[in-house]
Every structure is written in structure tokens, then in C-alpha cells.
């Protein structure tokens, strides 16, 4: 097929934007990470790897934010994946009722994180909220809590909101994957007398393993990106108990004006996310099932 070389002109606007607002700042993060730039002054010094050393040896808040991010991530990955898979299996068939419930479960995804943060701040509020009176009314009064004020559990209260927010979306990803499973496989298995569990373990699971790998990878990365929700709900408090990596980066840069230092934390985030993506790709490649 012939085409004129002028077709390359089509790339100019995209390439220009991409270079200015993506490639340049991404490289910039590496550059600033070895400086002591404060974000305002034009002159700054190169400090080598001092920012990285400080992060890992001197900064309790940074280490805490890594730990919180891990707690948040584990809670979300485990429960969101299980719930969304269960709902995907229940609502798999395209009946009218199922389509209605799918649309309902997906609904929170279209709301802004700020709106979701306000809704759940209200539900969690100790005196005027919904959660504590509800627990009391079903006889679980001893479980009432200051859900966002207690440093021990605030990060899990946030994880619960994240799960509420995105389970429907992940369910849809699973349904898309599951509807690709050929019906004949099930019919053959039923003829062979396979039990429900055997059918799941031997047919459904191997076929949705790639979807699961993708979902888990996506959920992990989402957990690292959960800036909007955490920032609007707790701002990282109380006592840094909900500080995660992205809020730490934001606060270092825009509250403490340590742009170089925050850039070093960004590079670490970049390495973590790139690592997860690479692992995910290798697993998906290995899990691909031919049928």
C-alpha cells in the first residue's frame, strides 16, 4: 500500500504534546531527584543520591507511607478481586435483572473521588453518621469506631471505600473475560460428570487467569494512584496513618517545598509501578490459553 510521506505530519501535534507534557517531565523527575530544588528558586545544587539516602534512612514518614500503601493495597487487592469475581460469576448471564445489577454496581465508578470522599466521611462520622448507629442496631455496638480518626484502622476504612468505589468496574472486566469462555467446554464437562467445583477449577479458572492477572496488576497500580480519594478524605492523617506514597510526594513538594526530595520519591514510585507492570506482562504472556 502506498502513501505519501506527508502522512508523518499527522504525528506532529501528538508528538509535541507527548514530548512537552509527558516525556520531558518524566525525565525531569530523574533530573530533579538528584538536586535540592525548592520549586521556586532558579538556582539549586546537585546533591547526588542524598535524597534517596535520606528517604530510606532518615525519613520515618516516608517509610510509614510505604507501609500504609502496602496495607491499603493488600486489603484492596484481596477483597476487591474476590468480590468482583464472585459478582461476575453470579451476574454473568445477560438477563434483564443481571444487567440492571451490573449497571448499579458499576455506578460508583462514574462519581468523582471528592464526592465519594464526602459521602463516606458522612457515613463514617462518629456522631451523625450511618455506620455506628447501624452497628448498634444489629447488636454490634461494641464495634463502633471513630472510623477515620483512629490511626490503627483509618487506612482500612479508606481501603473499604476504594473497594466500594471500584468493585463494579473490576466485575465488568471479569465479565468481559468470562463471556469469552466457550460454552461447549462446560457442556462437555457436565456430560463427563464434572462437579461445579471441578468445572471452576479446571475450566473457568485457567481461562480467566489472564484476566485475573490483569485485574490484580491494575488494582495494585490503582492503589498506588489513590491520591484523590485519600487527599479528600483524610489528607494523610491522623498522625500520618493514611499517608500513602502519592500523598507523601504531594506534601513534600507543595507543603514543604522540597521539590528535589519529592522527585526522588516519585522516581521510587515509578520504579515500583514499572516493576509491577513488567511482572504482569510476563505472567499474562505465560497464562495465555489457546482455545
Amino acid at each position: 500500500m502506498q502513501f505519501s510521506k506527508r502522512i508523518y505530519l499527522f504525528l506532529i501535534p501528538g508528538a509535541l504534546l507527548y514530548f512537552t507534557f509527558f516525556i520531558l517531565p518524566t525525565l525531569g523527575a530523574f533530573f530533579y531527584s538528584i538536586t535540592d530544588w525548592d520549586g521556586a528558586n532558579t538556582d539549586f545544587n546537585f546533591v547526588g543520591l542524598a535524597n534517596y539516602m535520606d528517604l530510606f534512612t532518615n525519613d520515618i514518614v516516608f517509610m510509614k507511607s510505604l507501609g500504609n500503601n502496602l496495607k491499603f493495597l493488600l486489603a484492596v487487592v484481596i477483597f476487591q478481586t474476590i468480590f468482583s469475581l464472585i459478582f461476575a460469576l453470579i451476574l454473568l448471564k445477560n438477563t434483564k435483572t443481571n444487567i440492571f445489577f451490573r449497571a448499579l454496581f458499576f455506578f460508583p465508578t462514574i462519581l468523582s473521588s471528592v464526592s465519594v470522599a464526602f459521602i463516606w466521611s458522612f457515613i463514617y462520622a462518629p456522631s451523625i453518621g450511618l455506620m455506628n448507629p447501624f452497628l448498634e442496631s444489629i447488636g454490634l455496638g461494641n464495634l463502633t469506631q471513630n472510623w477515620l480518626g483512629n490511626p490503627e484502622i483509618a487506612i482500612f476504612s479508606l481501603a473499604f471505600v476504594q473497594i466500594w468505589f471500584h468493585t463494579g468496574q473490576v466485575m465488568i472486566i471479569f465479565i468481559a473475560g468470562l463471556q469469552n469462555v466457550p460454552k461447549e467446554l462446560y457442556e462437555a464437562a457436565i456430560v463427563d460428570g464434572a462437579s461445579r467445583w471441578q468445572r471452576f477449577a479446571k475450566i473457568t479458572w485457567p481461562l480467566i487467569a489472564p484476566a485475573t492477572t490483569m485485574v490484580v496488576g491494575y488494582t495494585i497500580i490503582q492503589s498506588f494512584k489513590a491520591f484523590d480519594l485519600v487527599f479528600a478524605m483524610t489528607g494523610g492523617g491522623p498522625a500520618f496513618s493514611t499517608e500513602i506514597l502519592v500523598t507523601f510526594i504531594y506534601n513534600s513538594a507543595f507543603s514543604h517545598y522540597q521539590f528535589g526530595y519529592a522527585s526522588a520519591a516519585s522516581v521510587i514510585l515509578m520504579i515500583i509501578v514499572a516493576g509491577i507492570t513488567l511482572i504482569q506482562f510476563r505472567l499474562i504472556g505465560r497464562n495465555k490459553v489457546e482455545h
Partner: protein, 271 residues
């Protein structure tokens, strides 16, 4: 029997977990503040629409609404235009060149926007685009371009080569083929991508928070964020704002569910 009952209960529980909070938001907006503190969870008595008027006039919410609309619509148009041009080239080129171009442009999907927010602030500062809606549009366009290229280029590859070939025979220029053949045929993918970009930009807090400071440039999520400090626990006021900010997406969602699910899921596929 028991298994199916258990499944139904599970589905109903999660349904209630979504319906009850939404219902609470709606009834709370209809309460006077005084009555809310008296009975935070009960039905409104009397019913008032005063909160909506107060929240808009006290905060110039109509201006922030308009800003959100301008930024969202401009980003959708610019992003779809730029990304579909790239997608078209990816379709027309064959072999390694096409694969390389595709790989380069979707690379951005791998990295969350948060990782380069600090240098990005520097770039906008240098270009004099801080505190401007144009800056927001350009940055958002770039951030979502990889996903749109992913959706649209993937779709364009399925256009039969013979259709493009026929157009070249007729002596059409590349621009004409792009504008008159490739683009109209990609309408479903473009719609999906438009919804994806629209939801993301309409709801985004991070970029406005980073790059916009003056009150008359704020978008809705940023404006909403101020309510916490301003109204503390005055939820009738706060939720009136939440409802106003969510209404456009809810209305679109009712009519375009399929595109929302496809768009946000396609974005998730590698978002």
C-alpha cells in the same frame, strides 16, 4: 436452593450498600441544616431546595461548573483529534514502524500521572500555563492520549484495507481518507474514548489542585474540596454541591451505560 438464595442475598447486600448512601445524599440535600443536626438520618421535614441555591451563590458554583464543562469538552475534542491522527498513521504504516509508533504512544499508560507531577508543574510554570484552563486542557489531553490511541488505533486496525485502498485509487489525499473514511468508520471507538476522557477529566482533582489557584479558574472537584473547611459537617450544603457536580455524569450514564462500561474498562485494560 440454598446456594441460589445465598447468591441473591449477596447481590442485594451490595446493591443496598450502593443505594442507601445515594439515597442519603439525596434526602440530606432536601433538609434544612437545623433539621439535619436534629435528625441526621431521618427523612427531610420540611423539604427545602434552599441548599442548592445557597451553595451555588455562596461559592460561585456556576462558574466552576462552566470551567469543568469547558475543560472537559475541550479535552475530549483535542484529545480525540490528536490521538486519532496518531492512530491513523499507526494504521497506515505497516510492520515494525507501526508497532514501534504504537508502543511509543501507549508507553504513557504504564506510568500513573502522579509520578511526574512535580516536573510537570515546572514545565507549566516555564510556559506560563499555570493557573489557566488551557494548561489543564493540554496536560489532560496528553495524559489520556495514550489510552485513546490504544482504543482508536486498535479499532482502526480492523478497518478492511480494501476500503482505504479504494480511496487511494480515487486519488484522495491522506487527509481526505482520514477525515472522510477512517474517522467516520471509527465512530464507535471514538464514542467510547470520548466517554472515558470525559469521565476522567470531569472528576479529576489532582491536576486542578496542582495547577490552578485562583477562585475563578477552579473546576468542580477542586471547588468541592473547599467545602470541608467551609461547611465542616453541614452535609445538606456539602451534598447539594456533590449532587450538582455528579448530575451531568449520572444523566449521561443513564443513556450511555454501554459506552461508560466499555470506555472505563478499556482504559482499565492498561490504565
Amino acid at each position: 436452593m440454598i446456594r441460589s438464595l445465598f447468591k441473591k442475598i449477596l447481590v442485594l447486600l451490595f446493591a443496598l450498600l450502593i443505594i442507601i448512601p445515594v439515597f442519603m445524599v439525596v434526602i440530606t440535600t432536601l433538609k434544612t441544616s437545623d433539621y439535619f443536626y436534629l435528625d441526621p438520618t431521618g427523612l427531610p421535614d420540611p423539604v427545602t431546595f434552599q441548599n442548592f441555591i445557597a451553595i451555588v451563590t455562596e461559592n460561585n458554583l456556576h462558574i466552576h461548573f462552566l470551567n469543568s464543562l469547558i475543560v472537559s469538552v475541550s479535552t475530549i475534542l483535542l484529545c480525540l483529534f490528536v490521538a486519532s491522527l496518531v492512530s491513523y498513521v499507526i494504521m497506515r504504516l505497516k510492520g515494525w514502524k507501526s508497532a514501534l509508533l504504537f508502543g511509543l504512544f501507549i508507553l504513557g499508560m504504564m506510568l500513573p500521572a502522579q509520578v511526574n507531577m512535580i516536573p510537570l508543574y515546572g514545565v507549566l510554570d516555564t510556559l506560563g500555563l499555570l493557573n489557566s484552563l488551557i494548561g489543564l486542557v493540554l496536560v489532560s489531553t496528553t495524559t489520556f492520549m495514550p489510552v485513546v490511541v490504544f482504543i482508536v488505533a486498535g479499532f482502526m486496525k480492523t478497518i478492511p484495507g480494501s476500503m482505504i485502498e479504494a480511496s487511494t485509487m480515487d486519488g484522495a489525499s491522506e487527509w481526505q481518507i482520514y477525515w472522510k473514511v477512517a474517522l467516520p468508520l471509527s465512530a464507535p471507538a471514538m464514542a467510547t474514548a470520548a466517554i472515558f476522557v470525559g469521565v476522567m477529566v470531569w472528576n479529576d482533582l489532582l491536576y486542578p489542585l496542582l495547577f490552578v489557584a485562583s477562585p475563578e479558574k477552579k473546576t468542580l472537584p477542586l471547588s468541592l474540596l473547599d467545602f470541608q473547611g467551609e461547611y465542616f459537617t453541614n452535609y445538606p450544603m456539602i451534598f447539594s454541591g456533590v449532587l450538582i457536580a455528579s448530575i451531568p455524569m449520572i444523566i449521561l450514564y443513564i443513556f450511555l451505560q454501554r459506552y461508560f462500561m466499555e470506555g472505563i474498562t478499556a482504559g482499565a485494560n492498561k490504565g
